[in-house]
């Protein structure tokens, strides 16, 4: 006689079979099936299991909160993280509000072209007599739009690919990872230039190009983290509960691999800042008179010998942002590894 009792996964004996194959306790399966058939919650042997489970959940939540508080405190005590954070926040502030603080970054005055730094022009003026301080502050805007959005895109795409490859393994993983290997072999800048040459220019295309190029490396990191998690008991339990793969990946595994993803994200953010500036330097970014740092360095570099301030300040600004992001990465990495 076929066993047609309903299971917690629905009236499907195959799933019960599959659960057994996955190594689940047969007694537990039977208990779940009975409970499901009678329309009541499963009562585990040994007393008030529901309340115990709730207590355990509450304890876990409290532990998570405690850990989070600990992490925040640890990060706040980390000098590298804090220095990086302050610098990044400074540039974010300038990107948002420099227009209200400095003069116009595009206002020309050829009569004071290439003037050295002074009280009236802290960072001097460029070849068209524009205020280098105003341009340096305003230059943060483009890079702080492009780099974070490109990084988020890479995390989204890389996260999806990494989760699929790491969770399903097998032939899917093989195919995806070999493709990733091919993509990782491509030099970032050259490939970005090829993409931009093919698709045209524009901020949106730069974001997509950088995001796409950082996707393989993010997906590798995510896959490695998923592989480390997929054999853990909570994943097994979720599968035993009959949760769908997508649910298990997104709701069970993903929250548990946030730390490596955050670290990877900050690493990519640093690279994205650098890549966006490089593309601008090479003429694939915004067009003059944008105060974009990479573009400014490219245009003004001819004056390096006689008016170094036209190049050094935007270059220092770019370097400070990259270093700051790397400091944050370092701080996060050290704190998470404790």
């Amino acid at each position: 006689m076929p066993d047609d009792r309903p299971t917690p996964f629905g009236p499907d004996p195959d799933l019960r079979e599959e659960s057994m194959q996955l190594g689940a306790d047969p007694e537990m399966i039977e208990l779940r099936a009975d409970a499901a058939s009678e329309g009541r919650d499963l009562e585990l042997p040994g007393g008030d299991h529901k309340s115990k489970a709730l207590e355990a959940d509450a304890a876990a939540t409290a532990e998570q909160k405690r850990q989070r508080r600990y992490l925040v405190k640890a990060l706040l005590r980390s000098p590298t993280f804090m220095v990086g954070l302050i610098i990044v926040l400074f540039w974010v502030f300038m990107a948002l509000f420099s227009a209200f603080i400095t003069q116009s970054p595009t206002l020309t005055d050829p009569n004071i072209s290439l003037a050295a730094p002074s009280a009236s022009h802290w960072f001097g003026t460029d070849d068209l007599g524009r205020d280098v301080f105003a341009r340096t502050m305003a230059g943060a805007r483009t890079v702080l739009i492009i780099a974070p959005l490109a990084t988020l895109l890479a995390l989204l795409w890389g996260g999806i690919i990494g989760l699929i490859a790491g969770f399903w393994r097998g032939i899917t993983d093989e195919i995806i990872m070999r493709l990733i290997d091919v993509l990782l072999a491509l030099p970032i800048i050259i490939t970005s230039i090829l993409i931009l040459s093919l698709l045209g220019k524009g901020t949106a295309i730069i974001i997509v190009a950088i995001g796409a190029l950082f996707t393989p490396v993010v997906s590798r990191t995510v896959r490695a983290a998923v592989i480390g998690e997929r054999e853990r008991e909570y994943v097994m339990a979720a599968r035993l509960r009959g949760e769908r793969s997508a649910f298990v990946m997104v709701r069970e595994i993903l929250p548990n691999i946030t730390q490596p993803i955050i670290v990877e994200g900050t690493i990519r953010l640093g690279y994205a800042v650098f890549t966006a500036a490089t593309l601008s330097f090479l003429g694939f970014g915004l067009a003059p008179p944008s105060p974009d740092w990479g573009l400014t360095i490219s245009v003004e570099r001819v004056f390096l010998q006689i008016a170094p301030w036209t190049v050094l300040f935007p270059a220092a600004a770019l370097a400070s942002l990259v270093v700051a992001v790397n400091l944050i990465t370092d701080g996060l990495g050290r704190t998470f590894s404790k």
Binding site: L107, P110, N111, S113, L114, L128, A287, P288, P289, V302
Partner: protein, 566 residues
């Protein structure tokens, strides 16, 4: 040689103009050279005017030069030719510098726009200025041993005038002037040009002012790198694309210096190809190369301050044409008032300072400017005047302001010029939107669709860069006439056209001056294009390098160059 009667009559006319105060001595010498007067004859004219004979070919570095030294390899640095350096089609600095080492022209331009004979010994027009006869230099051979004769000149002209030949120089300088079969070899040393219409400035168009008109052997088949046959002072020895070209001295070169010494002095040349100007500057400063034929002002300030270098500045005639397309709005309905309104917003001295370190000549939206072309009348200046600009805007029906789009290639200093225009137009209520594109996009399109899609011709307002032209009429014929080959403004002013025809068909200098003034006024009144400056040219070189000749710097004639050991 010009006929004695002709020389006497025209010479007398020139002297009269000077004595009446209608022409300066400088202007007289330039015009005399255009009409084929020898140095001696020009000297006699000066003497008749009560002046001294001067050498109009002297370059900025001529004064106080040490005695020539034989030997040495001069290392030049500049960009690689954009295409294969085919003399028929070249248009860029790299190509022109390369071919001008082993090829020569009938005539060369001096820095003051006067002409000096090279492969032509003399030239003279007929009374109606539509037939020009050139006597060629004798005893000249190509570097493959064949003699240079009139048939080589005819073959060169026919090749350039071939509609399939793709010569931009021929198209822009001979359009409507010289047609195929218009060049005839009278004998081995005489060439006759029969023009489609009288043209008083014709000799300029067969000088190196028309860079494509270099004289090639009649056997030339388009393979210049394999078969670099020319009459020049040097022979192309090796050519590595995008890297280097080397030249050795031509032992059979016809040229001799004033003391009768065989030219060239140098054993050879090297042309190092480096695209980036900053990298070129650094190589020059490090001593790795001897000369940068064309120094770009932007970023070259360090060269001016370098104690080991000398930077010669030459009055140039290159321009950035800011064209108002008269077939597009708002210029179509706004007319001259609108164009002038923008013109009065420009602070020309400030633009000159920002882009050229104050070293270029200011332009006032006309080609006929004495400060640029010595035989032209003075042009009324145009200073920034926002009140006038606002009034003109109101008269054109745009009292509330105007929004315009300026299309520009990301090339040379054009983007910076666009930004300055944008900023300077703001106070008058004119909002300039800059549409920047790559050089390739800006000039996209073949000859066939020049008037169809290519942005530099069809966009409503553009900045187009033009290399030097030797005479104002040559610019006007190429861009301001309704049938001009490269008209970005599409200006069609019938009065201008008829006046221009009259101007180019007379040798009467008094009348030419009058007509030039009228042309200048018409151009300024309608302002189809803005010309805020005429770009001076700079050549940076080590202090021991002497006697590289122009005109300007792009041609880089090294036939009499030398280096001292210092």
């Amino acid at each position: 040689m010009a006929s004695a009667k002709y020389e006497r009559e025209y010479g007398q006319h020139l002297v009269e103009q000077v004595l009446k105060g209608k022409m300066t001595r400088r202007q007289m010498l330039v015009r005399a050279s255009v009409f084929g007067f020898s140095m001696t004859a020009a000297g006699s004219l000066l003497a008749a005017c009560g002046g001294d004979s001067t050498d109009s070919s002297s370059s900025p570095s001529a004064a106080g030069m040490p005695a020539p030294v034989m030997g040495g390899i001069l290392k030049l640095i500049g960009p690689a030719p954009i295409t294969d350096p085919d003399p028929v089609t070249i248009y860029d600095q790299g190509g022109i510098v390369l071919v001008s080492q082993f090829l020569e022209y009938l005539i060369n331009l001096n820095d003051d726009n006067s002409l000096r004979p090279v492969l032509a010994e003399s030239w003279t027009p007929n009374d109606t200025l539509d037939v020009w006869t050139f006597k060629l230099r004798t005893g000249v051979t190509f570097n493959d041993g064949t003699p240079f004769e009139a048939e080589d000149v005819v073959a060169t002209m026919e090749r350039l005038l071939d509609p399939e030949g793709g010569s931009g120089g021929a198209k822009s300088q001979w359009g409507g002037v010289l047609s195929p079969k218009g060049t005839k070899a009278v004998d081995a040393t005489t060439v006759e040009f029969t023009l489609d219409k009288p043209y008083a400035d014709f000799p300029y168009t067969v000088s190196n002012g028309n860079y494509n008109s270099a004289i090639l052997s009649r056997s030339y088949k388009g393979d210049i790198l394999k078969n670099a046959v020319g009459t020049g002072a040097y022979i192309l020895d090796q050519y590595t694309p995008k890297q280097k070209a080397t030249f050795k001295k031509n032992p059979t070169y016809w040229g001799k210096d004033d003391a009768g010494k065989q030219l060239p002095y140098l054993d050879g040349l090297e042309y190092i190809m480096v695209e980036d100007n900053s990298a070129q500057n650094l190589q020059l400063q490090s001593g790795a190369v001897d000369c940068q034929p064309q120094t770009v002002f932007q970023g070259a300030q360090a060269l001016f301050q370098d104690p080991n270098l000398r930077v010669d500045i030459y009055p140039g005639t290159g321009i950035r044409e800011i064209a108002f397309n008269q077939t597009k709005e708002p210029w179509k309905s706004g007319g001259a008032n609108l164009c002038q309104a923008v013109a009065y917003c420009l602070d020309r001295p400030a633009i000159n300072k920002a882009l050229y370190d104050d070293r270029s000549n200011l332009g006032y939206d006309t080609f006929w400017q004495e400060t640029v072309f010595p035989s032209s009348p003075p042009a009324p200046e145009r200073a920034q005047d926002y009140d006038k600009a606002k009034q003109l805007l109101a008269d054109a029906g745009h009292a509330g302001g105007l929004e315009i789009e300026l299309t520009v290639a990301k090339y040379l200093e054009n983007p910076q010029l666009a930004q300055l225009i944008q900023d300077q137009c703001k106070p008058a209520g004119i909002t300039v939107k800059i549409n920047q594109m790559s050089y390739t996009e800006f000039y996209a399109g073949s000859d066939a669709d020049y008037y169809g899609t290519t942005p530099w011709i069809v966009a409503p307002m553009t900045i187009v860069e033009w290399g030097s032209r030797p005479a104002p009429g040559i610019y006007a014929a190429a861009m301001l006439l309704p049938d001009a080959v490269w008209s970005s403004s599409h200006w069609d002013n019938k009065d201008f056209v008829s006046t221009f025809d009259e101007y180019e068909s007379t040798g009467d200098e008094a009348m030419r001056a009058e007509l030039a003034t009228k042309l200048s006024t018409l151009q300024q009144t309608d302002t189809p294009i803005m010309l805020p400056f005429f770009i001076s040219q700079a050549r940076a070189q080590k202090k021991n390098v002497y006697n590289i000749k122009g005109p300007g710097s792009i041609y880089c004639d090294c036939s009499a160059a030398y280096m001292t050991t210092a």
